[in-house]
Amino acid sequence: MIRLEGVTKYYRTTHGRHYVLRDINEDIPTDRNVGILGRNGAGKSTLLRIIARAEAPNRGRVRSTVRLSWPMGFGGGFQGSMSGIDNIRFISRIYGVDWREAVAFVQDFSELGNYMRMPVYTYSSGMRARLATGMSLFVRFECYLVDELPGVGDSRFKRRFAAAFQELRRRATLILVSHNESSIRKTCETVFLLNEGKLQRYDDVEEALRLYREL
């Protein structure tokens, strides 16, 4: 369970504060997959980053009873000038896992081959996603925070990812931010709609999708 207590986030603009999240008090379940829907710029990614504690809210706090991943998506979090292996070493160290095992696992999962020894800036976005996915699977989080399901990669890797995802579903859950209605429908059992700084919970996914289309 992730509990948001009075979470408020705004950005200062030339014409005053622009509120992205307004005093949100909500429990986000972590015993099932959860989707977050909202229009472009509604603040979905910001909300995900606040849940992940990658960004601090201006007011309020976030508590979590489960081990959350870093906010995944866009292949961020890697140092471009360093190799895949060195990045994996760093992430292993900050999460306290064995980096040798991590490198072996990610090497096998991502099939990046010799690219593992090359700087990450030489990677395509698909390759970065493979690296990030592999590493996050190895750390074994209880809840994965995902910004748009990675649709990247060749068909071979897509199958690999789907298999890993199935395995993942048995031991962990997702919080998924997406524009893609079909991936929300396929994956999530509860949906939160983010609109004008407020978060509304819907346990009926179809109802949420219908309201989302009307936004």
Binding site: Y11, R12, A52, A54, W70, G77, Q79, M82, I91, G96
Partner: protein
């Protein structure tokens, strides 16, 4: 027991903090020195080159030796290495967040960690460079050993502390007011000529002394020389004054960081 839980939570946070700093320092080392074994030697090049050039300069000017019977190498090395290291520590702490922004994605990594990792690495580099250059000079017969090695060592740590304070302040100012960055280069250039790198306070006329005596970098350089040379007594400089600078600049830096946190453009 809530107290027991507090202790456990603290223990856990401490473990995470240690892990993060360790990971960051290893990563910074690799970025700064590269993977080759001779990489760290590069840290010696700049100070060695400057010490060499200024020694030649002194000789060319016909100045036979620094004041009060100080030897060339320890006199110039204390000044130049302390000056360069303070500039480096402050500069690298200032750019720490900008060059590692991507890592803030991980919840356990904070801007404070990024700065602390660079401080620890630059501080250790400074002490090593100092010991290698001065120690090497002693072994090769260019200088006699320090009169008070323990005080010298203590002063090396005081320099790192001063770097920590000044670095925190410079980083906080630069983060909140980007225009400050344009003034840092001329500021440190000015410091090179006002910190007693090439002279001692005592040599100056009283009116100049009264101004420069406010400069904490001059204090640590003179204190270092007083620790090195038996015949040199601290003149108008003190550890107490440096301590006020360490505390004051760290306090102001952290205060600015806190005050303007909301206002900054977010990552």
């Amino acid at each position: 027991m809530s107290l027991a839980r507090d202790f456990r939570d603290f223990g856990r946070s401490f473990t995470v903090q240690r892990r993060v700093l360790y990971a960051l320092i290893l990563r910074e080392m690799q970025a700064r020195f590269g993977r080759s074994n001779i990489g760290p030697l590069w840290a010696l090049v700049e100070p060695l080159l400057l010490v060499g050039v200024f020694t030649l300069g002194y000789l060319a000017l016909g100045r036979r030796s620094p004041p009060q019977g100080m030897e060339f190498l320890p006199f110039l090395a204390t000044g130049i290495i302390i000056y360069l290291s303070l500039r480096n520590i402050a500069g690298r702490m200032t750019s720490a967040v900008e060059s590692n922004r991507g890592l803030l994605l991980y919840p356990q990594v904070t801007p404070f960690d990024l700065m602390a990792a660079r401080l620890l690495l630059e501080g250790a580099t400074f002490i090593t460079v100092f010991v290698v250059i001065v120690g090497g000079g002693v072994l090769l017969g260019f200088a006699s050993p320090p009169a008070d090695p323990l005080m010298l060592l203590l002063t090396l740590f005081v320099v790192v502390l001063l770097g920590a304070g000044v670095g925190t302040l410079q980083a906080a100012l630069t983060m909140n007011f980007p225009w400050v960055d344009h003034f840092m280069r001329p500021f440190w250039r000015l410091m090179l000529w006002t910190s007693g790198v090439f002279f001692t306070l005592k040599q100056l006329p009283m009116s100049a002394q009264d101004i420069l005596v406010w400069n904490p970098v001059l204090h640590v350089i003179e204190l270092m020389r007083a620790a090195y040379f038996a015949q040199v007594e601290p003149y108008r400089v003190s550890y107490g004054y440096v301590a006020w600078w360490v505390l004051g600049s760290a306090f102001l830096g952290l205060l600015f960081e806190r005050m303007f946190r909301d206002r900054r453009k977010e990552k």
